[in-house]
């Protein structure tokens, strides 16, 4: 997939959900990093990144997710990932970081 990263943002109760669409790679990870920083500054109770529309993620995307997790923990925000597809899962697995994250199948599950 060769397109700009589009990031949809919505609020469900006390939870902010970010849904990027497109590949998260070196060219695009800074876009999601910027949005995550803004969301964390607003201090929601929960931050969920829905990766169901992301087909590919490289190590810069993984690094962005680690930064989001660590920044959320520092700010006492619950952080979760949703919709981790096979190609994205491969990147988490090979870097042995999959177990670091709360991962749910759906946004509804993450909100429970």
């Amino acid at each position: 997939m060769n397109q700009e990263l589009v990031i949809e943002q919505k609020t469900i109760g006390d939870m902010t959900v970010l849904r990027p669409t497109g590949d998260i790679d070196m060219a695009r990870s800074s876009a999601i990093r910027k949005v995550v920083t803004e969301v964390i500054r607003a201090r929601p109770a929960k931050l969920v990144i829905d990766l169901s529309a992301v087909e590919y993620m490289d190590s810069s995307g993984i690094a962005t997710m680690i930064e989001a997790l660590q920044s959320s923990m520092r700010n006492k925000i619950k952080f979760a990932l949703v919709g981790v597809g096979p190609r994205v899962k491969v990147a988490f697995e090979i870097t042995k970081l999959l177990g670091m994250f709360q991962i749910y199948d759906t946004v509804e599950d993450a909100g429970k």
Binding site: D23, D25, M26, A27, Y56, I94
Partner: protein
């Protein structure tokens, strides 16, 4: 740019060091890997490895400049069956022994590229090119299961 090997590469691409071009290289590698017989998971890993290698060239070799040149050459390998990839650049040269993956038990962003390359590929060899820059040779073979599937599949999957 590429050293003479037993035969010319099936695919050679010259690209600028622009991160927005990485998706086109990923797609090319995936296409060739599919012809060779790599599974979806192996193709995903191969895309990740070449992406990380190119990102390292852009980030470290060319220090983020987007108008420098990178060469990517792809071969199908017969014995054992697999893919060989050579990436060459004219960027900052580094002693190969200094290229190392980091300790993954230290959970922090960044520095994962070399680990991904070494975990994914059967062979990864960095060299300093005499004319400047670096050459990275990557080889990945089909797993025994993938090889069996290819052997049992259609004739168009055989090598020329």
């Amino acid at each position: 740019m590429v050293r003479k090997m037993e035969r010319d590469p099936e695919i050679s691409i010259r690209l600028f060091s622009d991160p927005h071009l990485l998706s086109t290289i990923r797609a090319t590698v995936e296409g060739l890997a599919k012809i060779i017989g790599f599974t979806e998971k192996s193709r995903g890993l191969l895309m990740l490895a070449i992406d990380e290698a190119l990102a390292n060239v852009i980030r470290h070799g060319y220090e983020g400049r987007t108008d420098e040149l990178i060469w990517v050459h792809l071969w199908r390998v017969r014995e054992p069956r697999g893919i060989r990839i050579i990436i060459e650049d004219l960027g900052r040269s580094v002693a190969p022994e200094k290229i190392k993956g980091r300790d993954l038990s230290d959970v922090k962003p960044g520095g994962l590229g070399v680990h991904i390359i070494k975990e994914t590929m059967n062979e990864s060899c960095w060299e300093q090119r005499p004319e400047g820059g670096m050459r990275l040779t990557l080889v990945k073979w089909l797993s025994p299961e993938e090889l069996q599937n290819v052997t049992l599949s259609k004739p168009e999957n055989t090598f020329p």
